[in-house]
């Protein structure tokens, strides 16, 4: 995040687009303020967390939690497709998306 910890409405609009959430301009300005406060609060935490505190992505001090390479039970196509908005045969049917594979 930027040094000033402030957030611009354009950034909120951009994030909304990336998250595929349609926001009105009122919602954008409201969220710009609210998200700005959250960013500032987190920035306060970073002030306390000096370089001797390692970054972490998980609350548990665990590493190397693995699974053996043995196949287990799979879903049937009907189970897999139970929540599908639409299907054709045993495949999910989705609206064509403008864009490419990532």
């Amino acid at each position: 995040m930027s040094q000033s910890h402030s957030l611009e409405p354009e950034q909120v609009a951009h994030l909304a687009e990336l998250a595929r959430i349609a926001l009105t301009s009122q919602e954008i300005s409201k969220l710009t303020g609210e998200l700005g406060i959250i960013i500032e609060s987190i920035a306060k935490v970073s002030e306390v967390a000096t370089s001797d505190v390692p970054a972490t992505s998980h609350p548990m001090p665990l590493t190397n939690v693995f699974r053996q390479d043995i196949p287990g039970k799979t879903l049937t196509p009907d189970e897999a497709l139970a929540g599908a908005p639409d299907r054709e045969g045993d495949r999910f049917k989705v609206a064509s998306i403008l864009g490419d594979e990532q």
Partner: protein, 507 residues
């Protein structure tokens, strides 16, 4: 859909510009199960992709259903470390997974689990060799673990491609297949060899993963996929140009063609005063061209963040050492050993390497065929058919089948001509060589009685031939051999027929 772009002559383009390359190669690992779920892996050595019904190899984790949690496949981590080591990389003592967020239905959970700033392997280097024995060092930036995405079929529209499709169908069998993405640093100094270096690089990666036994590496099945980055630097400018990324260049020969095409296309644009758009481009195997895809822009804002459902991977020094000790022979070393073992000339061996058929011939020899015959069949008939079909020879027939055909010819059960027919049958999917021989009735006629009858018939129609042979003109027998072979529909052993004719003439 491809557009007809202006192309500059390749030699001219290289004279004016220095090509700068970069490759991203995705390798599907052949573990029994997927990266984060115990669903069977469609890219495993056991799985036969032809028989995979859609959405039958998935679990709630593959679909990202609420409440499901990923757990890392230990074997996939070991395979990734082995690959990193084979690429001369350093293995990270601590490595983490990250979410790459994007909305596209190839993954149901709207993110791909990948690695971002803490890849499992980084800073490696491999050597690749092109025709004539020239070698190039390719620096590896990183190799990271991630999951593959599902398969989309676009329905409707004019081209079958995504533009203009009415709707798409999704099969998530491939979602979650363990992948390692290998990213090179920028590659300079390849000049006119750039296309060949690209091809040799991907061929070397393929050799390495096959030697490690960690991937089926069949490019036509997408086990190994290549994205090629190409940019041009005007000679003497010292400046890097704008790059394009050509996606899914999925055969060795296409890597060469795609790099060559992009060099020629970009050179023509720059020479005409235009600018290169930084974009992904699609490769079209049929026309040998690329067409524009998505522009690279801030749309590539994936908001990576550490995957909260997974814990860091911290391989111990002893595990890394153990995997290092188990590494197979390096490809370059292996090549010089095979060349000596097989007794091929430099030229013969280079041809095999360039054709990417080293593994196939090695496996054919292992299956009991002689090196010379193995080479003859792969480089000859199999390559000829592959060329005609515009596919890689390795996709047509297995080394085991070729070895079987070689053995059938060496034992005299098949003539060369019959063997070619047997090969044709195997490629057409009629079964193993022995099965094709039985089904098509390709056995050599070894019944002397039938051959003698045909010889007598032929001699009757050309009575002077017998006299000529008797007077010492043995070469006159050729005409009779031809007739007999025709009568036997090629199923006779010409040497035996000749023997019988001479016996007849002298006896």
């Amino acid at each position: 859909m491809s557009t007809n772009a202006e192309l500059m002559d390749f030699e001219k383009a290289i004279e004016l510009f220095e090509p700068v390359l970069g490759f991203e190669v995705h390798v599907e690992l052949n573990t029994n199960t997927k990266m984060f779920s115990d669903a069977p892996n469609p890219a495993s050595s056991q799985a036969e992709s032809a028989t995979q019904e859609p959405n039958t190899m998935i679990t709630p984790v593959c679909l990202g259903l609420p409440g499901s949690l990923p757990v890392v496949n230990e074997q996939a981590v070991k395979f990734s470390i082995s690959l990193g080591l084979a690429l001369g990389c350093e293995i990270a003592s601590s490595s983490r997974f990250a979410r790459k967020n994007y909305f596209y239905p190839d993954l149901a959970k709207n993110y791909q689990i990948s690695q971002y700033d803490e890849p499992i392997a980084h800073d490696g280097e491999i050597e690749v060799e092109i025709a004539g024995g020239k070698t190039f060092k390719i620096e590896i930036e990183r190799a990271h673990m991630e999951e593959d995405a599902g398969k989309l079929t676009h329905v409707g529209g004019s081209t079958g491609r995504i533009q203009g499709a009415d709707y798409s169908l999704v099969d998530y069998n491939r979602a979650g297949v363990p992948l390692v993405e290998i990213v090179t640093k920028i590659i300079q100094g390849t000049n006119e060899n750039a296309p060949e270096v690209g091809k040799a690089y991907v061929a070397t990666i393929r050799e390495i993963v096959l030697a490690l036994g960690i991937s089926e590496a069949r490019m036509e099945r997408g086990n190994l996929r290549c994205d090629a980055n190409v940019s041009l630097s005007p000679r003497g400018s010292g400046k890097l140009g704008t790059r394009t990324e050509t996606k899914n260049v999925n055969s060795l020969r296409s890597v060469d063609r795609a790099v060559r095409y992009e060099i020629q296309r970009q050179a023509a644009i720059i020479a005409a005063g235009g600018t290169i758009v930084q974009e992904t481009r699609h490769w079209h195997e049929d026309t040998g061209t690329t067409s524009p895809g998505r522009p690279k822009s801030d749309a590539d804002d994936y908001r990576y963040f550490p995957e909260p459902d997974l814990l860091p991977v911290e391989p111990s020094a002893s595990l890394i050492q153990e995997l290092k000790n188990a590494l197979p022979e390096a490809p370059a070393k292996r090549r010089s050993r095979l060349k000596a073992d097989w007794g091929f000339s430099e030229l013969e061996f280079q041809d095999v390497v360039n054709a990417g058929l080293l593994n196939e011939i090695e496996q054919t020899v292992q299956a009991g065929a002689s090196p010379a015959q193995s080479r003859k069949w792969w480089m000859g008939e199999v390559s000829r058919i592959a060329n005609a079909k515009s596919v890689d020879p390795s996709t047509l027939v297995s080394p085991k089948s070729v070895a079987e055909i070689v053995k059938l010819t060496e034992s005299g059960e098949l003539t060369d001509r019959l063997a070619r027919q047997a090969l044709e049958g195997v490629i057409a999917g009629e079964g193993t060589p022995t099965e094709v021989v039985a089904k098509r009735g390709l056995k050599v006629v070894s019944d002397d009685g039938a051959l003698i009858a045909a010889i007598d018939e032929a001699l009757k129609s050309q009575p002077d031939v017998l006299e000529k042979i008797k007077s010492g003109k043995i070469q006159a027998a050729g005409a009779i051999i031809g007739d007999v072979m025709k009568a036997m529909q090629g199923k006779a052993d010409a040497a035996r027929v000749r023997e019988l004719i001479l016996e007849r003439a002298t006896g």
